[in-house]
């Protein structure tokens, strides 16, 4: 069953929260990750996440929610995100963002597109398609950095697979039922 307007706004508001979370996670990691190439990779991608959050936040307003409406995900998804953002080692951080968070989010964006209408909700499609294109580039750039640092960084593929299974096992992530007249309630 397709999403109604309020649910679309709630999904995009949750995606916005996740993009801001990604931006802030990368921002915390830039000064605390030793390898220069990884710092720079993350520093560049902070701007990508910010632009995604911005575009999503403008779209929520068009869907009769407040400008830059932002909703934290459901507790299970939230705790998984917090766990992925608490990684301390460089290889774990790369895996967390580029092997788990981005593919996981991409799958959730795809799910949204499947549950919405490309004509009725075309502006959301344009925003999300742009984000998915950016994700592909960001992951490609992370592969280039890993190749450059292959002599110094040793990855544990099982760890990333375990995290991915944990993340993808969570189906519901959007808090729903925040009200049919979202904009009016939120600005009251």
């Amino acid at each position: 069953m397709g999403l109604i307007l309020r649910e679309k706004a709630e999904h995009l508001a949750t995606f916005r929260w996740l993009e801001v979370f990604l931006m802030e996670t990368l921002a915390r990691w830039v000064p605390t990750t030793p390898e220069m190439e990884v710092k720079v990779l993350m520093g560049r991608h902070i701007w990508d996440a910010a632009q995604h959050a911005d575009a999503l936040g403008k779209r929520t307003f068009e869907l009769r929610a407040p400008m830059h409406y932002t909703l934290a995900p459901l507790p299970l998804h939230l705790s998984t995100m917090n766990e992925l953002a608490s990684v301390e080692d460089t290889t774990g951080r790369l895996q967390s963002v580029y092997d788990v968070i981005l593919p996981g989010l991409a799958a959730r964006y795809q799910q949204y597109l499947q549950n919405s209408d490309s004509l009725l909700d075309e502006p959301s499609f344009r925003v999300i398609e742009g984000i998915l294109n950016d994700y592909a580039r960001m992951r490609k750039e992370s592969e280039e950095v890993r190749a450059e640092l292959r002599e110094t960084l040793v990855f544990d593929p099982e760890r990333a697979e375990r995290w991915s299974r944990q993340e993808s096992a969570i189906s519901d992530f959007v808090v729903q039922g925040s009200g049919a007249t979202l904009a009016r309630e939120a600005s009251a």
């Binding site: 931006m23 802030e24 990368l26 921002a27 915390r28 830039v30 000064p31 605390t32 990750t33 030793p34 390898e35 220069m36 710092k39 720079v40 990779l41 993350m42 520093g43 560049r44 991608h45 902070i46 701007w47 990508d48 996440a49 910010a50 632009q51 911005d54 936040g57 830059h68 110094t152």
Partner: protein
């Protein structure tokens, strides 16, 4: 400066340094670095290496501003996110020219004083006043004559790099000027925060660089660049007069 003063400034004006991998040799004072003279054949390589690390500091500072001030207005957070990515790109620009001309990562010692000074400041308006409005505005002054010098020497690769860097830095100073103007207008406490941050940074900067290094600055105020960066004509005139007075005093 005596030891007790140095220890006191270390405690009050510097935060812990950022993470660096083992290729980097991190020093704490300007005098501990190589500081090749202008006539030395490797002087440009040392400059590119130093500049690359300063851009890393700029990126790390901007990143910390995003991480430390999650409740700042979204518009300024967007500008800071953009600045983070710009500084990251500058790191790559300076690394590329360093390596193309025979240098390599870790060849020269580096200083992380910018990060240590900025992240000691506990408010966003103060950090932007020091990093963007002071440090980066100095960059706006310094880069403009370097563009012409590189063009005159037929070094278009370097001139193009400097032009790209300058355009970005003007943008960073401009958004900080706009933010500070709005923040000080809406809350007079922010005027005090800016003043305190500038004083703290000035003392710290002196302790790192030493008066001799500060006095050796040769560039003048880039009046057009500063106007584009959002300084008022009065502020530009004051900066130019102050710079001239300091140069006269130092005999440079």
């Amino acid at each position: 400066m005596n030891t007790s003063n140095t220890n006191s400034i270390e405690a009050t004006a510097f935060a812990a340094g950022p993470a660096r991998d083992s290729r980097f040799d991190v020093k704490e004072r300007w005098s501990e670095c190589l500081n090749l003279p202008d006539t030395h054949p490797d002087r440009d390589l040392e400059f590119f290496h130093r500049q690359m690390n300063e851009e890393i500091n700029g990126m790390e500072n901007a990143a910390r501003n995003l991480a430390d001030f999650p409740d700042a207005e979204w518009s300024v957070r967007m500008s800071i996110a953009r600045q983070t990515a710009d500084e990251a790109r500058h790191v790559l620009m300076f690394r590329r020219i360093l390596e193309r001309r025979g240098g390599w990562l870790g060849r020269y010692a580096v200083l992380n004083f910018q990060y240590r000074i900025i992240t000691k400041i506990d408010n966003l308006v103060g950090r932007l006043a020091v990093q963007n409005r002071a440090f980066e505005a100095e960059g706006v002054d310094a880069v403009e004559p370097a563009i012409q010098k590189a063009r005159d020497a037929g070094d278009s690769e370097l001139a193009d790099l400097f032009e790209a860097q300058l355009a970005d830095e003007i943008g960073h100073v401009r958004f900080a000027n706009e933010y500070i103007a709005q923040a000080t207008k809406s809350n007079p406490m922010n005027v005090m925060r800016v003043g305190r941050a500038l004083n703290q940074a000035s003392e710290a900067f002196l302790s790192v660089m030493g008066q001799e290094a500060i006095d050796s600055v040769k560039y003048t105020t880039n009046e057009q660049g500063r106007l584009e960066a959002g300084f008022s004509p009065e502020e530009v005139r004051f900066a130019a007069a102050d710079r001239n007075a300091r140069k006269k005093h130092a005999g440079t």
